[in-house]
């Protein structure tokens, strides 16, 4: 059976509708969302209501958390002061637009969802703000999945979809302790684990303009990245009409990579 995993919708209704349509056309009914329903985009209430309507299980994203907590993402998550200013503006705009009911909905979203061997989170099991980049240290990546007691970790937040398999691992250790003079040696085998990043529906940053999400076959364990075209112009017009920074529209049109990503992506906000 196939399941679909979507992430980072970012209040882009035409993109969300197109992706849900694509999922429906494949006959998939099992969908999980990894959060960031809002932020940057012009239709926060509409996107939340669509997800609620369809009863799609959803984790809380970094934007969902920040908007309800009245927090701005800390300075460290922006690459420049200008980007930070824009981010704060989008945050304020979203906070003003959201209905009380939708804010409550975001506030009560869980940090993670577990289904058998699959764990679904927004950023990492440690934090909604931690980026698990595709080429991060392989042992650190494996540690995230292993310590979360999962076999497959589904995440988002980077807006770049990928599938990473970590296999055939082992670590050898040599131990001396105060209680004995002997030196002990042992080798520990590491389990095979996978990290699947669902990319972004509403704010792709993979270099193209298409919305992305992933489909996982629970029987064969195969994972496929899907790219979906949507009516970009519609979203861009809505961004301008809403008075949001025009660069948000420009970014969507150009599929600009890393537009708002911090320089040190491994940095975790300690706020």
């Amino acid at each position: 059976m196939n399941q679909a995993v979507i992430s980072c919708l970012h209040a882009n209704l035409p993109a969300v509708e197109a992706v849900l349509k694509d999922i429906e056309l494949q006959g998939i009914t099992n969908i999980t969302c990894l959060g960031d329903l809002v932020g940057y985009g012009p239709q926060p209430n509409e996107v939340i209501e669509l997800i609620r309507d369809k009863k799609i299980p959803t984790c809380q994203g970094c934007w969902d958390e920040d908007v309800v907590d009245g927090l701005d993402a800390c300075d460290c998550s922006y690459p420049s002061q200008l980007a930070e200013k824009r981010g704060h503006f989008a945050h304020q705009w979203t906070t003003d637009k959201l209905t009380k009911e939708n804010k409550d909905y975001l506030a009560n979203l869980p940090y993670s969802i577990r289904k058998d061997k699959c764990l679904f989170v927004h950023g990492s099991p440690n934090s909604q703000h931690e980026y698990l980049l595709p080429d991060m240290d392989a042992f650190a990546a494996l540690e995230r999945v292993e310590n979360a007691r999962a076999e497959i970790l589904f995440c988002g937040h980077t807006h770049q979809p990928y599938i990473r398999e970590l296999a055939d691992g082992s670590i050898a250790v040599k131990i001396k302790n105060a209680a004995s003079k002997d030196i002990q040696e042992k080798e520990i085998q590491l389990p095979m684990r996978r990290i699947v990043n669902a990319g972004s529906v509403g704010e792709p940053r993979h270099g193209g303009t298409k919305a992305t999400y992933v489909v996982h076959n629970e029987v064969t364990n195969e994972v496929k990245i899907r790219e979906v075209e949507y009516d970009l112009e519609l979203t861009c017009k809505a961004i301008i009409d809403a008075g949001l920074p025009p660069i948000f529209a420009w970014r969507l049109k150009n599929g600009f990579e890393f537009a708002e990503q911090a320089e040190d992506a491994s940095h975790v906000c300690e706020r």
Binding site: A140, N147, S170, I171, A178
Partner: protein, 239 residues
């Protein structure tokens, strides 16, 4: 001159033990730096005399370099230095009595000094902390999964991590390791084999049990304050 670090923790107000260690170190050859990795205070004893001595070393004392530990974190929490939080974990686990004993054991005049202590030091390629780079209360032991140890080392970007929280004395080296990584994204597939760089985690002990580290040879000695040197367990140098 040989460069050595003396690593001490868990004194919990015990000035006598601290003086014994100072005395030991005076007889130890080399250029010694003394690090006190937290838990200078605790609920069992009045800690004021030890704190006073750490802040105002005697003229022939080795200067102590201190960081905060789990018990310091508890008193800072309880005294309102960490916002609205209080020492709830301590209260739940050990009861109100222990919370009271702790706050009674330390004069308020020391709190600002405690609050100014750092979480850890990074010296050369070594991290010196109380618990782990993730949390001051995290126990790293001989039985902690190597993946976790590696992560805690990576977080501080160090090759050696000195930790005290578990009270254990050990020197665990990650000597070898490998993992194969395969990434598939919209640009295609890429495979990489990653190896474990040589790294180590060293448990320094607590109270009378402390550790001497020889910076040049990477040799650890697990010592007990006041014991003659022949009882010392020698480290495995040259690993």
């Amino acid at each position: 001159m040989i460069e050595r670090w003396a690593l001490v923790s868990g004194l919990k107000g015990d000035l006598d033990t601290y003086e014994l260690i100072q005395k030991d170190l005076k007889k130890t050859p080399g250029n010694i730096t003394l690090f006190v990795l937290g838990d200078m205070i605790g609920p069992e004893k009045n800690c004021n005399r030890l704190l006073h001595r750490l802040i105002n070393p005697k003229s022939n004392d080795l200067q102590p370099w201190c960081i905060y530990g789990w018990w310091e974190e508890q008193i800072l929490l309880e005294s309102g230095y960490r916002g609205d939080q209080r020492a709830e974990a301590l209260r739940i686990n050990k009861g109100e009595e222990v919370v009271k004993s702790l706050t009674n054991a330390v004069d308020k005049s020391f709190l600002d000094w405690i609050a100014a202590l750092q979480f850890g030091f990074v010296e050369l390629d070594c991290g010196l902390i109380h618990g782990s780079s993730k949390d001051v209360g995290e126990n790293l032991t001989l039985d902690t999964p190597p993946l976790t140890l590696l992560d805690r080392l990576t977080r501080l970007q160090v090759n050696r991590l000195f930790t005290a929280r578990s009270k254990q004395q050990f020197h665990l080296e990650l000597t070898e390791g490998i993992v194969n990584s395969e990434v598939e994204d919209l640009n295609g597939n890429r495979k990489k084999e990653q190896k474990v760089p040589q790294k180590a985690v060293i448990g320094i002990g607590s109270g009378k049990n402390y550790t001497l580290y020889d910076v040049g040879t990477d040799n650890t000695q697990f010592l007990q304050a006041g014991y003659k040197s022949e009882k010392r367990i020698m480290g495995f140098g040259g690993l």
